[in-house]
């Protein structure tokens, strides 16, 4: 419908940064250089858990060509203070320890020292000269093991939050959260059928193709410049300011083009170290991670355990649901267990819900956000259990979900009551899709699952400037990770009534626009989009004032239509419309440059729901799964640029397929990662997949002028269970542990075969 309603919104023009990105002109994190720059390298712990008894850097410092060496001693101690970052919360005391280990190395490849040298070879040689004395400690990798009494403790002072009475002894359980709606004990008494299962998931890496990289320079006057590939340059500035005790406005961070992030580039690893090396050496320095460093030491999404219990009546009405989730936080507290809990049953209108979450530390790299953080893990458990329920009730899985679907007015387990949402519409679109109506091809079986994400608002700033010729620049502060320049320009063109190519979107550095929260949580097109629309409205208001001045009338007598100021009616007077170009030409006489601004904390993010359908085949001998057909459906509110909306849905679905079928971290008995590269950490490649069909559902968000909800997170939530549900229907074997990789799946099929033969 939006296609008729709008001139630009809902169209598919070329993206503003397209030519740069197909010609190699676009400059990413590793593509920036400064004269005289040094090469930075990081020394990392070879142990999963060890006390750092001493670090001797003297030999490295003496090596010709070495200009600086830093260790944790160079970074000031930080308070025990929680600050928001991206979609997660972090503790400054822990961040500084993650950037550079202090008392202990808490995971293999934890940074312990860094050098800046004139060449790569000298920097490498210097690392080899740093002598670190370790006292190796017992380690723990698995989340269930880490929760046990007597497990090796990572932090002597970690007392579980959220438990009463307050524990007297430290443990690896950082936090427990409880989410209760109604009374599940009473609810389960009404149930005629109860399904209960345990599930596990493995950690997975975001897998962005561009490694972390930055260039940093601290000048003699204390001013700092950083070029960084990040989802949030304002967060990079904030962390560097806090971790290095530098006034925030002294730091200018320019976001480079970003080669994927998916949540993993909302935190800092390199930047504070690079600035400290620059400070000590007096030279700018560049630091680029190797792929191996990315996998070993940057945040994966957590693995975890999920226990699910769902009770229903025979007609499919769910009366009670419980879920217990324990997530690996990595070496420091702060897994996305909160969102994992809150999203778990958000798709359904269930009177009695109890969700318990545990945040558990272990000797792994600290987790970072990954697309809908936490949600795919709980959805893997809940949506698999929903499928078992549908099978036991002999109900169509979409009908079971329709019967229990959350709608406007449904109260969530975590508090809010849903406003207008489109889950029912998405389920109905799935049911009516050509894919669902057709029979799977011979040998193929079908799976269905749903998913939810809140979508996010938060802080954004934007400006709209009219150039001397009447063309417009839209300035915002969120790195464009997958086409947001295009969506912002489309909304600005629509609002202004000018052509898309008359609007040029740019992404400003931290000193050139007001604060913007990270690119994440599916917030940019919604929240920054809102700031852009409001800044254009501010610009239009100013244009009306200028037209009124030109005509000698009251500004209230001027309207804005099709990119021109016009008299509101004949009573105002007979005036020819004034275009942006005409207003710009006379701006000097009517009050100077014409600009608009807006800053806001965007409220009213519209929740998103998705439903995925897969047809797949399982090779019983090898355990290899062949995806035959895949359809992703999602309520996106309004698709501003449908091609990039489809792209988000397709990309998220494929990341989820990788999570379901192949991706995992394999640790040795010594707690060392055995598959730290793209060869053994197996992400989906083109030949693993069919086309990913998309069906965009549009139930506009009433809290956004164009109805935007946000797109990027939801599509990674359903695939895990979608694939698992199809495998269960293909083989009769219900997989509960991820990944459903060929060795695991063939082992499960082998184990099940005698039992099935006996049946």
């Amino acid at each position: 419908m939006s296609k008729q309603k709008y001139k630009w919104v809902g169209t598919r023009p070329d993206r503003p940064d397209g030519a740069d990105k197909v010609t190699g002109r676009a400059r990413f994190g590793a593509d920036f250089n400064m004269p005289g720059q040094l090469v930075g390298k990081v020394l990392r712990s070879p142990h999963a858990h060890a006390i750092i008894k001493s670090i001797d850097t003297s030999a490295a410092e003496k090596l010709p060509g070495v200009k600086a060496v830093v260790t944790a001693k160079d970074f000031p101690e930080q308070p025990n203070l929680i600050v928001p970052t991206g979609e997660m919360q972090v503790n400054l005391r822990d961040v500084t320890r993650n950037v550079m280990a202090r008392e202990k190395a808490l995971y293999e490849s934890h940074p312990v020292a860094a050098v800046a040298a004139t060449t790569d070879a000298i920097a490498s040689a210097a690392l080899a000269l740093i002598k670190v004395e370790y006292q190796v400690l017992p380690h723990v990798i698995d989340v269930a093991e880490a929760m046990k009494e007597g497990a090796p403790l990572l932090h002597d002072n970690l007392i579980t939050e959220g438990v009463k009475p307050v524990p007297t002894k430290p443990s690896n359980i950082a936090k427990r959260i409880d989410n209760v709606k109604g009374d599940t004990d009473a609810g389960f008494k009404q149930a005629e059928i109860v399904v209960e299962r345990d599930y596990t998931t493995q950690p997975v890496h975001q897998g962005y193709i561009e490694p972390h990289a930055c260039l940093a320079s601290m000048a003699e006057d204390g001013q700092v410049q950083i070029w960084s590939t990040t989802q949030g340059h304002f967060q990079v500035r904030g962390f560097c300011s806090r971790l290095l005790n530098i006034e925030t406005s002294q730091i200018r961070v320019t976001p480079t083009e970003i080669g994927g992030g998916f949540g993993g580039k909302t935190v800092v690893y390199l930047e504070p170290v690079a600035v400290m090396l620059s400070k000590k050496s007096g030279k700018p320095g560049k630091r680029v991670m190797s792929r191996e460093e990315v996998v070993r030491a940057s945040g994966p999404a957590p693995g975890g355990t999920v226990h699910v219990k769902i009770g229903a009546r025979k007609d499919g009405t769910i009366v009670a649901a419980e879920c217990t989730i324990a997530l690996q936080a990595g070496a420091f507290p702060g897994s996305p267990v909160g969102p994992a809990c809150w999203t778990s049953f958000a798709c359904y209108d269930i009177p009695n819900i109890k969700v318990i979450g545990y945040d558990v530390v272990s000797n792994r790299p600290k987790v970072a956000a990954y697309r809908a953080p936490g949600a795919p893990i709980s959805a893997w458990g809940v949506e698999s259990t929903m499928d078992i329920l549908a099978q036991e009730l002999r109900m169509d899985p979409i009908d079971l979900r329709l019967k229990n679907a959350a709608k406007k007015g449904t109260k969530t387990s975590y508090g809010p009551v849903f406003d207008t949402i489109g889950f029912v519409e998405t389920l109905e679109a799935a049911k009516n899709s050509e894919h669902y109506k057709s029979k799977p091809k011979p040998g193929m079986a079908r799976g269905v699952a749903a998913g939810f994400w809140f979508n996010v608002g938060a802080d954004s700033s934007a400006a709209a400037h009219v150039a001397e010729d009447g063309t417009v620049t839209i300035i915002s502060g969120n790195p464009d990770i997958g086409g947001s320049r295009a969506s912002l320009a489309l909304m600005a063109a629509e609002e202004l009534g000018v052509d898309y190519d008359k609007v040029r979107p740019v992404i400003a550095d931290t000193s050139s626009i007001g604060f913007n929260f990270v690119t994440g949580g599916s917030r940019v097109t919604f929240a920054t989009g809102l700031a852009v629309v409001n800044s254009v409205r501010d610009l239009v208001r100013e244009c009306k004032v200028r037209a009124a001045k030109t005509w000698g009338v009251d500004p209230d007598g001027v309207i804005w239509e099709n990119g021109c100021a016009k008299p509101a009616g004949s009573n105002v007077g007979e005036f020819e419309p004034l275009s942006l170009a005409q207003l710009a030409a006379t701006a000097g006489k009517t009050g100077g440059p014409i600009n608009g601004h807006n800053q806001l904390n965007a409220q009213g993010a519209g929740p998103g729901f998705g439903v995925h359908i897969v047809d797949l085949k399982v090779d019983r001998d090898t355990g290899i799964v062949e995806i035959g057909r895949y359809t992703a459906l999602q309520d996106v509110g309004t698709a501003i640029h449908p091609s990039y909306v489809e792209g988000q849905m397709q990309g998220g679905a494929v990341q989820g397929i990788g999570w379901a079928l192949n991706e995992e971290y394999i640790y040795s008995a010594k707690g060392k990662l055995d598959n730290a590269g793209f060869l053994d950490y197996r992400m989906p490649v083109a030949s693993d997949l069919p086309m990913i069909e998309t069906i965009i559902v549009e139930v506009p968000n009433p809290h956004h002028p164009y109805g935007v909800r946000g797109v990027g997170e939801v599509p990674i939530v359903p695939p895990l269970a979608t694939v698992g549900n199809a495998i269960a229907r293909a083989t009769g074997v219900r997989m509960t542990d991820l990944p459903m990789s060929p060795p695991r799946l063939s082992a499960a099929l082998d184990a099940a075969t005698p039992r099935m033969a006996a049946e």
Partner: protein, 160 residues
């Protein structure tokens, strides 16, 4: 350590450089010649972001020693557009939204051109297997495969 002198042709231009014996072509392109369009995603030949043509053969430039380029012809993403005209694949990638973040795009374009130069009538399966050495984490490959198929169809139409 003495550096090695290498004479090559890069994107049609005679080019000379000095390199360490241990340096890869990728490092020389990016760090010495300023040709940063070729990207490093892994350094181990698994992601294809550094795909270039070496004497007409598709290679991962992170796996080729710079000294091996002596007397050879290198083609990189910077040479793909002719004057102000984008290559048909470049145009179609933009039109079809076959890139999101864009870091893998130069590698995909180089690999796709190499495919279409050999086979202008590939099946979807052939496209998918040819591009299986190039990782993209954003798109799920759908729009990339469609763009390549569409350009192939256009090429066949033009050739008729």
């Amino acid at each position: 350590m003495a550096k090695t002198h290498v004479s090559t042709t890069i994107n049609g231009e005679p080019t000379e450089f000095l390199c360490e014996p241990s340096q890869a072509v990728l490092d020389v392109l990016r760090d010495q010649l300023g040709l940063t369009g070729t990207k490093e995603g892994c350094g181990s030949g698994d992601c294809g972001a550094c795909t270039i043509m070496l004497d007409g053969r598709m290679v991962c430039s992170c796996l080729v020693l710079a000294t091996e380029a002596e007397g050879k012809k290198i083609d990189t993403i910077e040479g793909m557009a002719k004057g102000d005209q984008l290559h048909a694949l470049q145009k179609k990638f933009i039109e079809f939204a076959a890139l999101q973040c864009g870091i893998c795009t130069p590698g995909f374009l180089m690999a796709s051109r190499a495919l279409l130069e050999r086979n202008n009538n590939p099946t979807e399966t052939e496209v998918r297997y040819w591009l299986a050495g190039n990782l993209c984490r954003c798109t799920g490959y759908d729009k990339i495969v469609r763009a390549v198929m569409e350009v192939a169809a256009d090429m066949r139409e033009t050739a008729r």
